[in-house]
């Protein structure tokens, strides 16, 4: 399990996760994949995990980022950067929100 505590309230974190889930769903649909197909491409053992992620529950394990990016036809850096926005907003702000 990857711990990634955020100094935000639980609702805030969950809102971001939901937003991230919606983004993943859009990316999957844009790639023309069903949840089962995506699960097979990213090596997920059970495709309901994809559904779970798309509702904003849980996170993609970092060691699967590349697989996901390839499966969704999204550049790796773009994919990780977008995920970071939802999963690790503090780091994202530091790295990308230049004043």
């Amino acid at each position: 399990m990857y711990g990634n505590p955020q100094r935000r309230s639980a609702p805030e974190v969950q809102d971001l996760r939901r937003e991230g889930g919606r983004w993943l769903k859009e990316a999957r649909e844009a790639a023309g994949l069903s949840q089962r197909q995506l699960a097979a491409k990213v090596g997920a053992d059970y495709y309901t995990f994809i559904s779970q992620l798309e509702t904003g529950r849980g996170r993609i394990p970092p060691d699967r980022y590349r697989d996901w990016a390839r499966a969704l036809n999204v550049p790796e850096r773009t994919f990780v950067r977008e995920l970071m926005r939802f999963y690790d907003p503090i780091t994202y702000d530091i790295l990308f929100n230049e004043e």
Partner: protein, 526 residues
């Protein structure tokens, strides 16, 4: 002592749920959401875990193929700890705490197998068939997932900034850095402040909640259930607790309990497993049962007053739980047995080692003080993992009395059973061994082959009633209740007296105090 724990298990196993099952030949119909029964089972688990103080949340949904999933997640960080799904008609259980993914058509057997592979407490190597309540097993599965996935972090958050009205720390949580996952954890401020005085964590929860997890762990340990040897008051207390967990206590015939509920089988089993953690845990549960029948004071201990005061003792212990230095304390507070005592106020603390599999290392008993009256009876909190030397020396010269195993009758082949000098309370269940004609106090030790558990209880009651401050220690399966002055002010005791009740499962209860504390039983026992 152990038999009462078996009975707890029996109570929990008393109600059979059909659970959800499908035939292996099941041809998936058009995918559907969870049935009401399935959801009820999940929410039953959620409720039980919430009652146990575990900060659990649930979520569910349907895949794009309309197949259902259900997850339990940690409410502190939202991380999913276990995922259930039904895919192509087959059930699936997966979570980071479990290395493998369980799949199958029979959910009940899946859960059973998962518990067997991931017991909270080491299971017996005897290969006995497990036969326990499936709902308890599901609780064990999900509870284990939480335990293994780092409940420590949740506890730390709560300990560092606990809401004033909230004092329901999680069972088996820990700020220890020797969590099962080996994750390094920061020392919470409160814990750090106490690090010098406490080398382990303390959490508290009501008895029924502790019993839930302990019982689940016990059940997971694959021990048989012995049904016939329940002390009635303990049955009531434990049944009440089990009922509160929705896990048993109903009048439904128990078809899951082991077929050979023979006491001798259980005893033989207990004896064989005497040194195992599960055995110790069962003794702890038995102690809960025993204590539930004791008199209580007026005031309750307020669990909210006890902080998460423990902490892993600082640096140098950055191992992965294998060094045995970490501790989890589960405290039972108060022992809720409304049908026995309305104002029960016992607190039982159980220290679990934080190795790969938890070991029960010590038990503490705390009893509320009535107001601040100096003469009020109380049991002080002690924190020991081994007996003080002075106690060990006294105990080495203790008078030993065997407690009758269940099933041994007066005049039986193994010897006479000696009951209390005063007629004990009627025993509705009739399971407690006592002769029909109580033997008077003229009986001497030399003549005693066995005493009944009733007598033990009466002697303990009397001892406690005549001892201002009773401390309690546990060393393995040896429980010692002693006059606190023995360690704090030994000169105040004029005549140190000790008696050791040896229980059939090779555990023991030792009483050590001034001879006056034994009063009416003195000539009887010594």
């Amino acid at each position: 002592m152990t038999l009462l724990a078996w009975e707890q298990s029996a109570d929990m196993a008393a109600q059979v749920l059909s659970f959800f099952q499908r035939s292996p030949r099941y041809v998936p119909a058009p995918a559907a959401d969870w049935s009401q029964q399935e959801l009820a089972e999940f929410y039953r688990v959620e409720a039980a875990l919430l009652r146990a103080g575990i900060r659990v949340g649930t979520d569910r949904g349907l895949s794009d193929e309309k197949e259902p999933w259900f997850v339990f997640y940690r409410t502190d960080d939202g991380e999913v700890v276990i995922h259930f799904a039904r895919i192509d008609g087959e059930y699936l259980i997966a979570g980071p705490a479990y290395e493998e993914i369980a799949r199958g058509f029979d959910f009940s057997s899946m859960v059973r197998n998962m518990v067997a592979r991931h017991p909270l407490i080491r299971r017996s190597d005897r290969g006995d068939n497990i036969s326990v309540h499936p709902a308890a097993l599901l609780v064990a599965v999900v509870g284990t997932a939480f335990f293994k996935s780092g409940e420590a972090r949740a506890a730390e958050s709560g300990a560092a900034n606990p809401p004033a009205s909230h004092a329901r720390p999680a069972l088996l949580s820990s700020s220890s850095n020797t969590s099962l996952n080996g994750g390094a954890a920061a020392l919470p401020p409160v814990a750090a402040a106490n690090a010098q005085s406490a080398a382990y964590d303390t959490v508290q929860l009501p008895a029924n909640q502790a019993i839930l997890v302990l019982a689940a762990a016990l059940l997971a340990a694959d021990f048989k259930v012995e049904q016939s040897s329940l002390e009635p008051a303990a049955r009531m207390a434990l049944a009440a607790n089990a009922a509160a967990l929705d896990l048993g206590g109903a009048a439904t015939p128990d078809t899951t309990a082991v077929a050979d509920g023979d006491a001798s089988t259980a005893l033989a089993h207990a004896a064989a497993a005497v040194s195992t953690p599960a055995q110790t845990a069962s003794s702890v549960l038995s102690l809960v049962a025993l204590l539930s029948t004791m008199p209580s004071t007026v005031d309750r201990i307020d669990p909210t007053e006890t902080t998460l005061d423990g902490a892993k003792g600082g640096g140098g212990n950055g191992g992965n739980g294998g060094d045995g230095t970490g501790r989890y304390d589960a405290a039972v507070s108060p022992l809720s047995a409304p049908s026995v005592h309305d104002s029960a106020d016992w607190v039982l603390k159980i220290r679990l080692g934080a190795g790969a599999l938890p070991d029960v290392e010590a038990v503490q008993l705390v009893r509320a003080v009535v107001g601040d009256t100096a003469t009020a009876q109380k049991i002080a909190v002690i924190e020991v993992s081994k007996l003080p030397d002075v106690l060990a020396e006294i105990l080495s010269q203790s008078t030993h009395v065997q407690v009758a195993p269940v099933g041994v009758q007066p005049g039986g082949q193994t010897g006479d059973v000696v009951a209390a000098p005063e007629t004990p309370s009627p025993s509705a269940g009739g399971d407690t061994v006592s002769p029909p004609e109580p033997v008077g106090p003229q009986k001497t030790t030399a003549h005693i082959d066995f005493v009944s558990i009733d007598l033990v209880r009466q002697v303990i009651d009397s001892f406690m009633a005549h001892t201002a401050v009773v401390s309690l220690a546990m060393d393995g399966s040896q429980v010692v209740m002693y006059d606190a002055r023995i360690t704090s002010d030994p000169g105040a005791i004029t005549h140190v007296t000790s008696v050791t009740f040896e229980l059939p499962d090779h555990s023991s209860i030792n009483l050590v105090g001034d001879h006056s504390a034994f009063q009416q039983y003195y000539s009887f026992l010594f």
